[in-house]
Assembly symmetry: C2
Homo-oligomer: 167 residues x 2
């Protein structure tokens, strides 16, 4: 009976995990797990970084999208998650004056929780590299690197992205 | 009783319309209506057109997304709809080497129906301009302009966009 109960617990925890996070990708060194359905998230904006030749699409979970559409993003609400999908750039083969995504570089995320992530401005950071989704960072100190880069936009709740204007 | 029946029909047609199309935006001159929930569609790709200083996010309805993820896009399946959201570009205020969306220019769509749109390569075209979503084109001949521009990629089922690579 104890064994059965244990098994049921394992199955239960596994199902919970499948519902929220990607079970076959390792968590970041700070324990943050990859949101499972991020590829289905809606668009917040895009960018072209000409300093490192990359293209980016910025997406958000439902809480983030609702906040973006309501223009309530300073601060972003608790539970908002922003994702950035990043590709190397190339010139389009059929329209040379268009810069389009080439090889996938990484997916990175910001998780809003003012208490849990108080030490890094209320955001938890995580990044997974390449198509094999290797967690970025050797230990949890990697978040200080993220935080340092976002500190110049502290008065925008540490977020560079401005949600796009749409009808 | 006839009046009541008429009213019920009007309400019914209105509800049907609300379910699929944006009721308060005028259809394109070829009769194509704006898909109502396009802002919730998922991402297929993005681009930066350096010939006209615009940024674009390419999205798709569920049929298109399923085809893109299955790499079954030549031809795209019946019922696929591709959308392109276009903005003027600007340099980001806080990260000068990032090009980001500025003013919204237009939303444009391709609707796959090999029979209905046989005259234009199996795709119906439509575009709505600006935040007030004015239909593009003075009459239905405008689609010939769209078709001409897409004909160089006839062997890619008339679609320039290649779906992004993602894990």
């Amino acid at each position: 009976m104890k064994k059965l109960s244990y098994l049921v617990t394992i199955i239960g925890v596994s199902l919970m995990s499948v519902n929220s996070f990607s079970a076959d990708v390792k968590p970041a060194p700070n324990g943050i797990e990859l949101p499972e359905n991020y590829k289905d998230w809606k668009v917040i904006s895009q960018s072209h970084r000409i300093d490192n030749n990359s293209l980016r699409i910025i997406i958000g979970n439902d809480i983030a999208i609702q906040a973006a559409r309501a223009h309530e993003t300073n601060p972003w609400p608790a539970g908002a998650v922003l994702g950035k999908l990043v590709w190397k750039q190339k010139n389009d083969e059929h329209w040379n004056k268009a810069i389009v995504p080439d090889k996938f570089i990484h997916a990175e995320f910001m998780f809003k929780d003012s208490e849990k992530y108080a030490a890094t401005g209320g955001w938890g950071y995580a990044r997974w590299l390449g198509l094999d989704q290797k967690p970025y960072g050797n230990n949890e100190q990697f978040t200080l690197e993220c935080f340092a880069c976002h500190t110049p936009v502290k008065d925008r709740d540490y977020v560079y992205t401005t949600p796009v204007s749409l009808p």
